[in-house]
Subunit: 302 residues, 2 copies
């Protein structure tokens, strides 16, 4: 028994198009409808046959849906939901894939009063954007965090959980505020740091951009991957999850200052002790299947 | 015509053992001798048959060498060189693979007065350590930077360059101080930042280590790879290249403060503009073959 028979995806970028492909593969009888605000993306989605129907308006996309998933930048969630509010069937479940949950939940509740809203966040992605970048296995063995409001219908939560399980994801339930603090450290702060260091390296005068590129295999190239992520998506994340990001950033800066001081004072033992203990986290990530066990992320070395 | 007939490797970890394997593959008639200060590493190197001979002392390893390569942490270079100074043939070339060049050049010149020293730095590696971690293709299409002192014998430089070309590397010549500033940004600062953020994430009270691991696919896991690198090697790098690292760190901190301020004040346009321009560097790295062109470093999704 399928959790949903008619699924609508609003926003057909990396995540939306990956959901479409994964649904096709895992639940081929589901009727898939898609919409994107960008006509060019709709045309591409049509050409790629991502969905059974690509509609020109968000309202037309949701009119007979039993699940609507918003896959737009978090700052656009409220407006996107308002765009189909009048056409949403009363028994439809609305979800999203946004990287921040507290503010998105507020925006969706405001735009869709009375609707059944179960926010979600599949912790998966690549640095690519757009409908061509998606692929069906993106969510395999990744965590999908559901953040239902207190008192949310448990049957609706379970249907959405089952939907994501069929796409290959593992499910966790979390309060929205806690989600936002956890993701501030495991996702938002890393992106901010990566964007910063890539900017710093680009702006040096005595070291040319060409040198930065040539010798990037010393470590820098790792940071350029996530700093190549979608700028709109990430601008919205930092604005939406401002408090948690600023708090984590404060802690990071304090720790960086401590290491800076250890370098300045030549405190080798303090540096060694710090570098020694960070290995354990990598081991945990590998053991739990959250990264490639091969060295160097399994990059090809010829 | 081989650039060298008898090559000695002092230090048989990731880099030393990769050189041994690469020499075996590219120049099978070279007589390879190895030594490591750690008896357990010597035993492993023997078992793996990395070299024709593994000697118990550094002196015995160099006695008939025409190239000696030091592959030990940069802080141990001087002592390692002093350990074989009395046995070094007058016509041997001494080189190293250290990540900092100015201080290593000074340490080697002091330990080996009158010797022909051509420092080098192959910009390649993985997060693994030890003799089992090496592999022959590690240097393929990576840059090897030679930092000969002013007035160094050009024939010796060219022989060493040819040696590295045969291991698959491209060659660049650079002044030691400039090398140290370039690598401070493309390698040392990224490692320091990665070590810091992994430490910050481990120390949070409200977000458990288990949560950090579970949701690391949001970006954090990328940082854990280089933060799993050898602690001794990296302690020495930061102490040896202190000035350049502290200077780059200062610039990074200023840039981070600017982004922090943009987030606090809700300046979306400023964030967007910054995130937009960091994509170009990634493209350059891919175009120049310095990273895997596949999304997500080519990590397996499935």
């Amino acid at each position: 028994m399928l959790p949903f028979a008619r699924v609508t995806i609003i926003g057909l970028g990396l995540i939306g198009s990956s959901i479409a492909r994964a649904v096709r593969q895992a639940m081929p009888t589901v009727r898939l409808t898609g919409h994107d605000f960008d006509p060019a993306v709709r045309t591409t989605a049509d050409t790629l046959q991502l969905c059974d129907d690509i509609t020109d308006t968000a309202g037309a996309a949701v009119i007979d849906a039993d699940l609507v998933i918003l896959c737009v930048p978090v700052g656009a969630m409220g407006a996107a939901a308002a765009g189909f509010a009048a056409d949403l069937p009363a028994d439809a479940i609305v979800s999203d894939v946004g990287s921040c949950k507290a503010e998105v939940a507020r925006a969706l509740a405001e735009a869709l009063p009375g609707a059944t809203i179960i926010p979600a966040h599949p912790v998966a992605g690549t640095e690519r954007s757009g409908p061509e970048a998606g692929f069906a296995s993106l969510f395999h063995k990744r965590w999908c965090i559901l953040t239902p409001a207190e008192g949310a219908d448990p049957i609706a939560v379970e249907r959405l959980a089952e939907f994501w399980r069929r796409l290959g994801a593992d499910i966790e339930l979390m309060a929205p505020d806690h989600h936002d603090r956890v993701l501030a450290v495991t996702s938002h702060l890393p992106h901010l740091i990566a964007y910063t260091i890539v900017g710093t390296a680009s702006d040096l005068e005595e070291v040319t951009q060409s040198e930065v590129i040539k010798y990037s295999a010393g470590g820098f190239r790792d940071f350029t991957r996530i700093a190549a992520s979608d700028p709109t998506m990430w601008r919205d994340v930092f604005l939406s999850n401002r408090e948690a990001v600023l708090d984590m950033l404060q802690r990071f800066s304090e720790d960086l200052t401590a290491l800076q001081r250890a370098i300045r004072l030549g405190k080798g033992e303090e540096l060694f002790d710090h570098f020694e203990r960070t290995r354990a986290i990598r081991r945990g990530i590998i053991e739990q299947g959250q990264d490639d066990p091969a060295p160097d992320f399994g990059r090809s070395h010829d």
